[in-house]
C-alpha cells in the first residue's frame, strides 16, 4: 500500500472532495447561500461602487462571476449537486449493467439484448445523442427534466458498461480453474461468489471510478453549450421566458464561455479546473485500485494476520494448528 502513489493520491483527493461534499457549508470563507452581489463598496468606502465580476482578491478568493457570486463558495457548494448527479448516473448504470453483462455471458438471449443495445447507442457519440434529444420541446418543458436527462444518460452508457462486464466475465469463463469449479459442482451462486466476483471486482470498481470521471467530462462539455441537467423557465422583465440552470453545479461556469473568456478568464478557468481536479482524483483512484490488486495477486502485498481476534472458522483452525505445531 505504501508503494502505490496513485492509490494515495486518489484516497487523499477523494477525502478532500468528501469533505467538500459533507462539510462544504461549514468550511472557512464559504458563503452558504452563494449570494449574488450586485455591487461592492470600494476600499475607501466613499461610495464608489464596484460592479461584478471581480478579479480574484481578498474577499473573493477565486474571483466572482457576472452576477457577483463568489466562485470559491459556488464551487464548494456545487460539489454536492455535481457529484451526486454524476454518482447517481454511474451507480444506476452499473447496477443494471453488471447483472446484464453477467447474464449475457451465460444466456444467449441477454447476449443479443446487450449486442443490440450496443449497436443502437454505442455507435454514436453520447454527446451527439444528448444534444439532439435535449432540444425536443417535451424535455424542455417537462417538470421532470432532470429525471429524463439522467435516464437518457444511463440508457446511452448502459451498453458500453455492460460490454466491459460481459468481457471480464467471459475472460474468467475461458480459464481452466473455472472449468475445475464447474466440475467440482459449484452452483451459480458459488461461481459468482468465488470465481467472478473476486477476480472482477477490482476491475469493475476501477472502471466505475473512471466512469464517474468521464461523466463529469460529458457534463462539462454539455455545460459549454448551455445544456444542463436541471433547467427551469423564468420570466424577467420581457415577455420571453429565459431557460435557466437551476442546480448549483460546476459546469455552470463554462456556459457563455466565448463571451466571458476574454474579459474574465478566471470564471471558466476555475470552473473547469475543479472538473479536471476531480477527474484526476477519480482516474488515479481507479488506477491505484487496479495496481493494488495486481500486486496482491502477484503476492507482493502480504496480508497480515488480524490484529484482533475474528470470528472466522477457517482461520481459527489454522491458528490452532499453528499452536499445535509450535507446541509439538
Amino acid at each position: 500500500m505504501r508503494k502505490i502513489p496513485s492509490l494515495w493520491i486518489g484516497i487523499i483527493g477523494c477525502t478532500m472532495f468528501a469533505i467538500f461534499f459533507f462539510f462544504g457549508p461549514y468550511l472557512p470563507k464559504v458563503d452558504k447561500n452563494v449570494t449574488p452581489h450586485s455591487y461592492v463598496v470600494g476600499p475607501e468606502s466613499n461610495l464608489d461602487f464596484i460592479l461584478p465580476p471581480y478579479v480574484p482578491n481578498k474577499d473573493f478568493i477565486l474571483g466572482s462571476d457576472k452576477k457577483g457570486r463568489d466562485i470559491y463558495s459556488a464551487l464548494i457548494m456545487g460539489t454536492r449537486g455535481t457529484l451526486s448527479t454524476v454518482f447517481s448516473i454511474s451507480v444506476i448504470t452499473f447496477l443494471i449493467a453488471i447483472p446484464l453483462g453477467a447474464a449475457a455471458a451465460h444466456l444467449s438471449f441477454f447476449r443479443y439484448i446487450l449486442q443490440g443495445w450496443n449497436y443502437l447507442f454505442s455507435r454514436l457519440p453520447v454527446f451527439f445523442y444528448v444534444i439532439i434529444i435535449s432540444t425536443i420541446p417535451f424535455f424542455i418543458f417537462s417538470p421532470h427534466r432532470a429525471v429524463w436527462m439522467i435516464s437518457f444518460l444511463i440508457i446511452f452508457e448502459l451498453g458500453k458498461v455492460g460490454e466491459v462486464v460481459y468481457k471480464s466475465v467471459k475472460l474468467i469463463q475461458n480459464t481452466t480453474y473455472y472449468e475445475a469449479g464447474i466440475l467440482a459442482g459449484s452452483k451459480p451462486i458459488g461461481l459468482w461468489k468465488r470465481y467472478y466476483w473476486p477476480n472482477c471486482y477490482p476491475q469493475w470498481v476501477a472502471y466505475f471510478v473512471q466512469h464517474i470521471g468521464s461523466m463529469l467530462f460529458l457534463l462539462g462539455q454539455l455545460g459549454i453549450f448551455g445544456i444542463f441537467i436541471s433547467q427551469s423557465l423564468s420570466q424577467q422583465g420581457s415577455p420571453a421566458y429565459s431557460i435557466d440552470n437551476t442546480a448549483l453545479v460546476w459546469p455552470m461556469f463554462l456556459f457563455d464561455v466565448l463571451i466571458d473568456f476574454d474579459a474574465f478568464p478566471w470564471v471558466p478557468l476555475f470552473g473547469s479546473m475543479f472538473i479536471t481536479l476531480s477527474m484526476f482524483v477519480f482516474v488515479s483512484l481507479g488506477e491505484g485500485i487496479l495496481e493494488y490488486h495486481l500486486r496482491k495477486h502477484r503476492g507482493l502485498i502480504v496480508q497480515r494476520k488480524p490484529f484482533l481476534f475474528r470470528w472466522r472458522k477457517q482461520e481459527k483452525s489454522i491458528y490452532k494448528e499453528d499452536k499445535h505445531n509450535e507446541a509439538g
Binding site: P5, S6, Y119, L120, R123, L124, P125, V126, F127, F128, I131, I132, I133, T135, I136, P137, F138, I140, F141, K160, G213, F217, G220, Q221, I224, F225, G226, I227, L233, Q235, P239, A240, Y241, S242, I243, L254, V257, L258, F261, P265, P268, L269, S272, M273, I275, T276, M279, F280, V281, F282, V283, S284, E287
Partner: protein, 313 residues
C-alpha cells in the same frame, strides 16, 4: 466473404440508425401555452397528424428538389456539407493520426520506464493527461498564451478558419485527450503481453530488446489495441464539437450546434424549430464518417487476425 458479410451487416445497422435519427429530428416542435393568473403555462402536445405531415413534407421536398433540403442560409445542404466537411476532415484525420502516434509512443515510453523516477514522468503524466478534458486544455493554453503575449511573445492567430495555419491549434487540442487514453491502453497491453512464453523464448534466443518490443510485443498487442479504435474515434468526434466551438473553427461540429438552435429563452406558445435539413444532413455526414471508421476497424481486424494468417500459410 466473411468480411464482406460483416461490412454489409454494419451498413444495414447504419441504415436502421440513420432512419431512427431522421425520425427523431422530424418530430413536430410546436408548443402550446395558456395563461394561469400571471404565469404562462407552456406545454408540448405530440400529435400523429402533425408528425405525419412533417415527414411527408420533408420527403416530398427531398424528392422534388433531388437534394436533402435547403438550409436557412438558402443553400442546398450538399453545398454546405462539402464546404464544412473539407474544413473538419483536415483537422480530424491529422488529429487521429497524431493521437495514435503520440499515444503509442507514450505507451511504449511508459512501459520501458518503470523505475521510480521514470514512473513519475511515464505513468504519472499519463494519468494527468487522461484527466484533462479538452475544454480545460483550451482555457489553460489560451490563458497562458495571452499572458505571454502581453509580455512580448509574438502574437499568434489562434481562432477562426481563414488561414491555412489555423488548423494547428484545433488539431493539438483535439488529439491530446485521445493520445493519453491510447497511451494507457498501449502500456496496459504491453504489460499483459510481457509475461507470455514467446517473449521469454525470444529473450533466450538473444533477440535484441528493441526488436522484441517493436516487432514481437507490439505486433501481438495490435488486435487488443484495435478494440479501442471505435471508442477513440467517438471521443474524437465528441471532442470535435467542443474544440471547434471554442476555437471558432467553423466545421461540422459548430455548424451542427448552430443548426440545432439550443434555446436560452422562449416566447410562450412559439414553435421551437430547428434547421431540419441542416441537422439531418450534418448528422448523416457524421454517421457516414463513423461508418467508414467502423469499416476500417473491421478490415484491420480481419487483416490482423492471427488465425486467418495461420490458415493461409
Amino acid at each position: 466473404m466473411k468480411l464482406v458479410l460483416r461490412l454489409m451487416g454494419s451498413l444495414l445497422l447504419w441504415v436502421c440508425m440513420a432512419s431512427v435519427l431522421i425520425m427523431i429530428v422530424l418530430l413536430p416542435r410546436d408548443t402550446q401555452s395558456h395563461r394561469e393568473g400571471t404565469l404562462d403555462v407552456m406545454s408540448y402536445h405530440f400529435t400523429w397528424e402533425k408528425y405525419k405531415q412533417n415527414i411527408t413534407n420533408y420527403f416530398d421536398e427531398v424528392k422534388a428538389e433531388k437534394s436533402l433540403g435547403i438550409t436557412k442560409f438558402d443553400q442546398p445542404v450538399e453545398v454546405e456539407l462539402s464546404l464544412y466537411f473539407k474544413r473538419s476532415i483536415v483537422i480530424l484525420v491529422p488529429a487521429l493520426l497524431l493521437s495514435i502516434l503520440l499515444g503509442v509512443g507514450k505507451g511504449v515510453f511508459d512501459y520501458r520506464h518503470q523505475s521510480k523516477v521514470g514512473r513519475i514522468f511515464g505513468k504519472g503524466s499519463t494519468w494527468l493527461g487522461q484527466s484533462v478534458p479538452d475544454f480545460f486544455l483550451i482555457f489553460l493554453v489560451q490563458t497562458i498564451l495571452s499572458i505571454a503575449m502581453r509580455h512580448g511573445f509574438p502574437r499568434l492567430d489562434m481562432y477562426g478558419d481563414e488561414e491555412w495555419y489555423n488548423i494547428f491549434f484545433p488539431i493539438f487540442f483535439l488529439s491530446m485527450y485521445p493520445a493519453f487514453v491510447i497511451a494507457r491502453y498501449t502500456s496496459q497491453a504491453l504489460e499483459e503481453e510481457d509475461e507470455q512464453d514467446y517473449i521469454k523464448t525470444a529473450k533466450a534466443k538473444g533477440v535484441p530488446e528493441r526488436v522484441i518490443l517493436w516487432k514481437h510485443i507490439l505486433r501481438n498487442a495490435m488486435p487488443k489495441l484495435l478494440q479501442h479504435f471505435m471508442p477513440i474515434v467517438l471521443t474524437l468526434l465528441s471532442g470535435m464539437f467542443v474544440v471547434e466551438f471554442l476555437s471558432l473553427y467553423h466545421g461540422i461540429g459548430s455548424r451542427l450546434i448552430n443548426a440545432i438552435h439550443i434555446r436560452y429563452s422562449i416566447m410562450p406558445g412559439e414553435p421551437l424549430p430547428i434547421d431540419v435539413p441542416a441537422v439531418i444532413g450534418f448528422s448523416l455526414l457524421i454517421m457516414v464518417m463513423l461508418l467508414i471508421a467502423q469499416w476500417m476497424n473491421q478490415i484491420f481486424d480481419f487483416l490482423l487476425d492471427p488465425k486467418r494468417r495461420g490458415s493461409h500459410e
